[in-house]
Symmetry: C2
């Protein structure tokens, strides 16, 4: 096995009152993370778990681009939908209930003329190597994904 | 134990070429997720794992607000810094290397006149109940956190 190739990922944040936080990543404009009014926020930005799911689709997107290049798999367009379910009793402190996702489903709509078999090979490699998909799987979340050819 | 209280979190996304994706969450303006040029992107937005770490700090922030209220813990300001390390061999497909974080550190700088003992109680409850901290822990990531009174 080759030598470790560690990279470091960093962010910072400032609490801006209520349940709201302003996050800063490298040179980019800071962005607001908040909660809907139903969860006690002012609803001025997506919430923390929505950013985790944003990370899921975008991570799958990076991996599709990377692996399609390796496999010489051609595609014209991709769209993503995902949905996670969690039981809010966990974050409210009820013993025995996980505070994070019970299940997450990812739908991948891909416009391609490649065969179903080649699409299955791409899917398998993405699911094996995508950091965010594997973070969820390793945490015991029931992850399902549907890849739909357009 | 009380009855499940499931909530659903959803996002969608569109691949916008290269390794870039535009993500849409509820009524908010879509935002760009990309990779730095060193990782093959155009660097027009934070990358997927930076959004996961944004989710970490902001989730801790929500939980601090929620639990401080329960514990009548008063504080004036909070700032966050976090950093995660991963071995990129995992996402490149090297067998036996996890594609996600090996370790994540979270620093919480909190301005408060509460005692160290009360701060420790707050920290323990946040670490036990925060969805994103527990997602990382359950995935086997080595999570450390330092809470520093200002």
């Amino acid at each position: 096995m080759s030598v470790s190739q560690l990279i470091k990922i960093e962010t910072s944040g400032v609490w801006t009152g209520g349940v709201q936080t302003e996050i800063k990543v490298r040179q980019f404009e800071p962005f607001i993370v908040d909660e809907p009014k139903s969860l006690g926020g002012k609803d001025e930005g997506p919430n923390p778990l929505e950013f985790v799911l944003a990370g899921l689709s975008s991570c799958a997107s990076v991996m599709i681009a990377l692996i399609a290049k390796e496999q010489k798999f051609s595609y014209e367009a991709v769209e993503f939908k995902n949905a996670g379910e969690l039981d809010v009793r966990g974050l409210r402190g009820v013993e025995g209930v996980s505070p994070h996702f019970q299940s997450v489903n990812l739908d991948v709509f891909i416009k391609t003329e490649e065969s179903d078999e080649r699409l299955e090979q791409l899917k398998e490699a993405v699911e094996k190597r995508c950091p965010v998909i594997n973070l969820l799987i390793d945490a015991g979340v029931n992850v399902t994904s549907n890849w739909i050819k357009q």
